[in-house]
């Protein structure tokens, strides 16, 4: 049981706990915070895998930007503890069983077929950041450009949707 493995399990446990608490928390704010925990844990795992750039982005963009946005909205709408209704019949016991079945099946399949992915040989060898930047601006320049338009769309949407009706 190497140190790496210990760290991995620690972080994994953290992530899972965060996710579970996202589910269990009644107040959106707490959910948001537990989601942040998950993201931090994942960032740690990225580091563990030597993907430092991704880890950084994970912290900055996800943890920093997106989640802040969430929290901001929650505050804006001062959403309280969510009311517990169960109008939907489907989302009761049957839903539970179905979800468990689905998740279980996916996990099991992956566990079985994990062997098909050969274990990593040279970790951290590829100086990821430089390589990534090269790929982004060379191989994947087209989707990269497209994402810019995507963000424009997002901005546009946000303004259109959120702006008050001009009478």
């Amino acid at each position: 049981m190497t140190a790496q493995l210990v760290v991995f399990f620690a972080l994994a446990a953290l992530a899972v706990i965060g996710a579970v608490s996202l589910i269990l928390q009644k107040h959106p704010i707490h959910s948001a915070l537990s989601l942040i925990v998950v993201m931090v844990a994942l960032a740690g795992l990225y580091l563990l895998m030597g993907a430092e750039f991704v880890a950084a982005v994970q912290i900055i963009v996800y943890g920093g930007a997106i989640m802040v946005l969430f929290v901001f909205v929650i505050m804006l709408l001062n959403a309280g503890v969510e009311e517990h209704t169960s109008i939907s019949k489907m989302a009761g016991i049957p839903g539970l069983l179905l979800v468990v079945a689905l998740a279980g099946f996916v996990a099991a399949t992956i566990a079985k077929s994990g062997a098909s992915v050969q274990a990593a040989t040279q970790t951290g060898m590829l100086s990821s950041t430089k390589g990534i930047s090269e790929m982004v601006f060379k191989d994947f320049v087209y989707p990269f450009e497209l994402t810019s338009f995507l963000i424009l769309v997002a901005i546009l949407g946000a303004t259109v949707l959120a702006q008050r009706e001009k009478s």
């Binding site: 399949t109 992915v117 601006f137 497209l146 424009l152 769309v153 546009l156 949407g157």
Partner: protein
């Protein structure tokens, strides 16, 4: 470093999308300065038209672009033309609607154009992540457009449902991509050709991808969102939904299919089942609808089912002989074309008759329409008959080709199920015609003065009608084109 920059040829091969995006940006930028709707309408028209024409240019120098991320070939040409035309028509039809509902104009057109660009990307993407970006572009714009009537409860609700469920499904799609990437080490479709078929990881990934796309094309049991979203969205947007994104999603499915043998192999029975479920879900659901808009939504589900039948046919055929699938592709493409024309026409009429605030959408409002507005009634009947698949309409050939593909690949049972469904479908399409022609209008309905049809709308109707009849009598040009062996790049 020069070699890092994209070459001109890459630009040419993606020209339509770029043009659409640019015009979208242009609309955004000019929005603060120009007030007149006509201006933006003109801009959007020019933009959509320019992009559509640019696809010809893209076809002329066809081939892979951006290191094989996209593929500009006859196939993508067809879909770019299709979505471009759809956008063009939607722009035409939407003008009066926006005025009537007093909605911001520039943003609408900009979103429309971005959505179109996204669909174009989907149609030409040769790599899963690019496809994903395109998908998101069209989807996110669609979410916004669905909620475009901000103050209308239904509209915002449809936006919410579409958004939540859409992203939910997208997550599956994305996870599928991840697994496929893991299994094959690449996301380039043509490199997956020689992936080992035995890998369960690949199998799972493809399954998840199918789930994501199945949601987008509204295949049962993913169809649940469709009626709500279609009903809630502003009608011109509904017209777009039923014609554009669906076609683009089908395009991606078809391309994955054609290039990834594994997909061809794993997906057959899934398509068989989905097709059967979808046909029945759509038709049976439509039987009992009284809201025309919702009825058409259900019918579009049913039609997705018919197209899936053709997909099942593609599988077997392409497994039998490399070029054998030709007819089945033809079936899918022709069907999408005819279907897009018809649905656009129908929804345009519905949106026009809906009146301010989309009040009169129920069947009763259509009673006696044949006296009030004989030509509108006649056109709507033609569209419905085309959906029902009667001769001298494009819909008939569409259905015919699908039947042919199905029988070609011995999908006899599927063909019979489809036959049964077309009979069920006949019932509710006829119901609308019956109401328009054979039922006397209620007192207040009779009192209504004919709804005015502006020039733009009439133009849309004219084009769609002409197309419906033309392709119903003489489909040769289209057929010739989509049957060319070089349909998909290689």
């Amino acid at each position: 470093m020069i070699d890092h920059l994209p070459r001109a040829i890459d630009i040419y091969r993606t020209l339509p999308e770029l043009i659409w995006c640019c015009f979208g940006v242009l609309a955004m930028l000019l929005q603060p300065f120009v007030r007149s709707r006509q201006f933006f309408t003109a801009l959007a028209l020019i933009g959509s038209l320019a992009g559509t024409l640019a696809s010809v240019f893209a076809l002329v120098n066809s081939g892979p672009g951006f290191y094989g991320l996209i593929q500009s070939d006859s196939f993508s040409f067809f879909f770019r033309m299709l979505v471009g035309t759809v956008t063009f028509l939607v722009v035409l039809a939407a003008g009066p609607y926006l005025d009537r509902e007093r909605l911001p104009i520039a943003e609408f057109y900009a979103l429309l154009l971005f959505a179109t660009a996204g669909m174009g990307v989907l149609a030409s993407a040769q790599e899963l992540l690019t496809a994903f970006i395109g998908l998101e572009m069209s989807s996110i714009s669609s979410y916004i457009l669905a909620g475009y009537r901000r103050d209308a409860l239904k509209s915002s609700e449809s936006a919410m449902k579409y958004f939540l469920l859409g992203s939910f499904a997208t997550a599956f799609f994305l996870y599928g991509i991840a697994l496929v990437y893991g299994a094959t080490g690449t996301t380039l479709l043509d490199q997956m050709a020689n992936a080992d078929m035995t890998s369960t990881l690949l199998k799972l990934g493809l399954a998840l991808i199918l789930i994501g796309l199945g949601f987008k094309v509204a295949a049962a049991p993913f169809q649940v969102w469709t009626p709500d979203v279609y009903e809630g969205a502003p009608t011109p947007v509904t017209a777009l939904f039923s014609a554009g994104p669906k076609a683009a999603a089908f395009a991606l499915l078809l391309r994955i299919f054609a290039t990834v043998p594994a997909a061809t192999r794993f997906w057959f029975w899934a398509f068989w089942v989905l097709a059967a479920l979808t046909m029945f879900a759509g038709n049976l659901g439509a039987l009992v609808q009284t809201n025309v808009k919702r009825l058409l939504a259900y019918s579009s589900i049913a039609h997705a089912g018919y197209i899936l039948v053709a997909f099942a046919a593609v599988t077997t055929m392409s497994s039998e002989s490399n070029r054998g699938a030709g007819p089945a592709y033809a079936a899918v493409l022709f069907y999408l074309l005819s279907y897009a024309l018809v649905k656009l026409g129908a929804f345009t009429i519905v949106s026009q008759l809906g009146g301010a605030g989309e009040k009169s959408l129920s069947l009763d409002d259509y009673a006696g329409l044949s006296q009030r507005q004989p030509f509108v009634a006649a056109m709507l009947s033609v569209y419905l008959l085309s959906l029902l698949g009667l001769p001298v309409t494009a819909g008939f050939f569409g259905k015919f080709y699908i039947f042919k593909a199905a029988v070609n690949s011995h999908l006899l049972w599927l063909a019979i199920l489809m036959a049964i469904n077309s009979v069920i479908g006949a019932y509710y399409y006829l119901r609308v015609i019956v109401v328009m022609y054979m039922r006397e209008p209620s007192a207040e309905a009779a009192a209504l003065s004919p709804v005015p049809f502006p020039v733009g709308v009439n133009l849309v109707l004219l084009i769609t009608f002409a197309g419906t009849i033309l392709f119903g009598v003489y489909p040769n040009p289209v057929i010739n084109f989509i049957l060319r062996p070089s349909l998909l790049g290689h």
